[in-house]
């Protein structure tokens, strides 16, 4: 199934792209997906083991199972204000 992955801040620079389309197995969790990104995407091997992830624009925990067409975002530590 196809997952859309958004990258921000330093993570976007490491990957050299703000958005990736990824074909992943059904039933994949957030933790599995971050492992896949670390292994498959050049530059993202620097990701922390448990980066902050948002699924469909809400903070998510690493055990969440992803569904087709989910919007997944990898978020570096936030520094707004």
């Amino acid at each position: 199934m196809l997952i859309r992955v958004l990258l921000f801040g330093a993570y976007r620079e490491w990957a050299g792209a703000g958005e990736l389309g990824l074909d992943v197995p059904e039933g994949i969790t957030v933790a599995d997906l971050t492992e896949t990104l670390r292994a498959r995407i050049h530059g993202l091997d620097r990701l922390p083991a448990r980066p902050v992830v948002a699924v469909n624009r809400a903070y998510s925990d690493s055990a969440k199972v992803l569904l087709e067409d989910d919007e997944v975002a990898l978020l570096p530590p936030v520094a707004g204000g």
Binding site: F8, G9, R57, Y59, A73, P77, A79, G80, G81
Partner: protein, 158 residues
């Protein structure tokens, strides 16, 4: 409620106008401005990046929580209806020069205590969980992403 991420300059008057009600005797404006120094380095510009769609959702969540903070002197229960505090928050993205505002928070409430508490709650929660990133540019051409806060899943444990 005015709760947005914008590339435009922040207009403090528009923020204050957005919160003013006849029931409210206190109005507060907080501006976060770009400083010319950080950690001993000379900052010449700052770039903010946001996950805008999510950031606006998080701003709505923070604002909802803030206006429901128990009002001291009102029996400890949140005010409602016309007496509930009103808030407006704008966070800017893109390239900002020293002295420009990156965030503006306006709060109005019947009394000052509430206005101060609501304003303080909003800026602290923004720092804790708004999906926005900041890159500083220094004298000499170097750039760096600022270390930040790690939001927890669910986002609103505070």
């Amino acid at each position: 409620m005015l709760l947005t991420i914008t590339r435009d300059r922040i207009d403090p008057h528009a923020l204050l106008d957005a919160v003013q009600r006849d029931e409210h005797g206190a109005a507060l404006l907080f501006l976060g401005n770009v400083r010319n120094h950080n950690d001993g380095r000379s900052v010449i510009a700052v770039r903010y990046e946001a996950y805008a769609e999510m950031a606006e959702a998080v701003l709505r969540e923070i604002a909802r929580e803030a206006i429901r903070l128990p009002a001291e002197g009102a029996g400890g229960t949140p005010r409602d209806g016309a007496h509930a505090p009103t808030v407006a928050v704008v966070h800017r993205v893109g390239e900002l020069a020293v002295g420009e505002a990156s965030i503006g928070i306006a709060v109005a409430a019947p009394h000052r205590d509430e206005a101060y508490r609501v304003s303080r709650y909003i800026i602290e929660e923004v720092k804790r969980r708004l999906p926005v990133w900041k890159q500083e540019r220094y004298q000499g051409g170097l750039e760096s992403w600022l270390p930040g806060a790690v939001p927890s899943a669910g986002g609103n444990s505070g």
